[in-house]
Symmetry: C2
């Protein structure tokens, strides 16, 4: 861990705990950091996971054996999405079970570093909906979101970086992390050289959504206690689809209206876990922690057909109405679909908003 | 665990702790149990191990997910020897990295159940050298030995079982464990129907031996604390041949005159570990335990060329001189070679005995 990251993370932690200190995007000089990771977005087929047990266990549990600093694994009913840096990526042998998105992706991170007061209590992707997500959608930049317990990573394609900088530099001081240093960056051309789209109406495709019944928790764990949950985590990640032989009772039938979703990330030494309450019960209660409010989250899965990686505005489709209603949300993109997690008590209003949106797509 | 096993194991534990209670083989009615496991002896190539990470981690750590009750994994410089019952074996997919010995093997176990005094303090294979190992060698029965922290398993081929029973029933009360019951067994024919070899001289091939410099420990672990060493054990078993990326200093060069040897077994709920002192230092000191004497062991590796599975008398070649000198020994057969572990303080005399034997093979 280099010093800069600690500062960034500390600021973020504070922000999550004290949302009142968060800056309003309209008054801001917030910082945007382009982190020092070159990421690949990959997918492992359901049946192929066991062939990747060896490298994945190394990346998750054996920090001494890898230089990988950015690792995320998310199980969905369709596949396992693995997002990881180049050091991690070289551990994954090519096979017919591994799909690799062609781009290099760079993670962006918004850092609030001041004392400004905010009108919004919402956290997560909601907080950056107007300042980051909407402008990028308007400039036709596709994003891949990865919310964790600690922060929200906005992944953009490396080839889009100059457009990203040109789009966001009015709103943010932009820094690029290079070997532990934060280097200010500006649009490569003169200030007006970047040709922005005008304030044209943003009309993203409205994708169908699915709202499963599971309740989710977003949790973290002291990395030093990761070994203590290793066998449970291995069981849940790698063996949850095989039957329990020792169980005396018959396995409970899969519930309709629930969706398998489990996400683990280990990024710059920080662990984040997203799981439903059923998975949570398998872990020792005293090691995983969540925010003091201990709230539960419901999922909105976005997409009827796999979304691909080129369409822009998908995150905006969800985050804008959430921002209008000031509803917090985590947002996790995967290889096939996107997933927003909203507070359980807000799911009814979120559902209403999204149904309304399907009927009459809103102009921005 | 069924009740019978508990009794057997308890008796064995007592015996290990109080060698004075052990019966002398000449005065005995010791019991021999044919355990209720049908075993396969397999070998995984060094480079192929990672392809078997998924099933092996399941067999080692996830007792709820498997019915396998007999599992042993031993790393040697040549390969990984995996001995396991049929429930475990069906987890291992065929591949060019997996060699499978053709026979079904049955584990035998000697149980001392009485109060007779003994002239011998030695434990392990030494204790059964005269009563089991020598007679089986004389009847051309090949054995595959597997000593653990708790006991010594003598594996014989299922097809040799009637010869084994005929050979050993004079010396032992023989029981077959069937579904938790101990059923007395006798030679299938009338007492004299089994044609024994006479008291002809036993002259096994004398194999070259290798005596590496490592010091070994034979240890155990409460199965409930296995999760606490999971990441260390996974690291040692599955990743010890890949470099440590995080290590600041260069890896130490492999020492000449040392041999890689690490054995883990989980048999009927009991864990046994054999490792050298270098591997031991990677484990938390408070979880693994060894006998109160805490002694260290030196290895005698038997065989210049891989031994195969048909030759008989290999174990006898080592265990008889040890019995004559009353030196304890663990004995672990692997796919390629056999390994005896003798107390560190006895290695000089053992070496002398074996050198003598090479010059003039002893008649029994």
């Amino acid at each position: 861990m280099h010093g800069t990251d600690w500062r960034v993370w500390f600021a973020l932690e504070e922000e999550r705990k004290e949302p009142g200190r968060e800056r309003d995007h309209q008054t801001t000089t917030m910082d945007l950091h382009i982190l020092d990771h070159r990421l690949r977005v990959t997918s492992i087929s359901k049946n192929g996971l066991e062939n990747y047990t060896h490298p994945l266990i190394k990346l998750i549990f054996l920090r001494n054996r890898t230089r990988c600093k950015f690792f995320s694994l998310t199980e969905t009913p369709e596949n396992y999405t693995v997002v990881l840096d180049e050091e991690g990526f070289k551990e994954l042998q090519a096979s017919e079970d591994l799909q690799v998105e062609g781009s290099v992706w760079l993670p962006l991170n918004v850092v609030s570093n001041g004392n400004a007061s905010s009108s919004s209590q919402a956290v997560g992707v909601t907080k950056i909906a107007r300042s980051v997500i909407a402008p990028l959608a308007q400039q036709h930049v596709s994003v891949f979101m990865l919310s964790t317990y600690q922060t929200d990573f906005i992944l953009v394609k490396e080839k889009d970086l100059s457009v990203v900088i040109g789009t966001l530099e009015e709103e943010f001081d932009i820094f690029r992390e290079v070997g532990g240093e934060s280097v200010p960056v500006h649009s490569p051309c003169e200030p007006n050289g970047f040709q922005k789209n005008g304030k044209e109406a943003l009309q993203p495709t409205v994708h169908p959504v699915l709202i499963p019944l599971n309740q989710f928790c977003v949790m973290s764990l002291d990395p030093d206690t990761l070994p203590a949950i290793a066998t449970t985590l291995i069981d849940v990640l790698f063996y949850s689809n095989s039957p329990k032989e020792g169980a005396s009772s018959a396995p409970s039938p899969p519930e309709l209206d629930r969706v398998k979703f489990f996400s683990f990330s280990l990024i710059d030494g920080y662990i984040s876990l997203v799981m439903d309450t059923e998975a949570q019960r398998q872990f020792p209660a005293d090691l995983l922690f969540t925010s003091s409010s201990g709230e539960l989250w419901r999922m909105v899965r976005i997409g009827g057909q796999p979304l691909g990686f080129d369409e822009c505005g998908i995150v905006a489709q969800i985050s804008q109405p959430l921002a209008e209603s000031d509803i917090s949300a985590y947002y996790i993109s995967t290889f096939s679909f996107d997933h927003a997690l909203v507070p359980e008590e807000d799911i009814v209003s979120v559902t209403a908003v999204l149904q309304q949106q399907r009927k009459e797509p809103a102009a921005s």
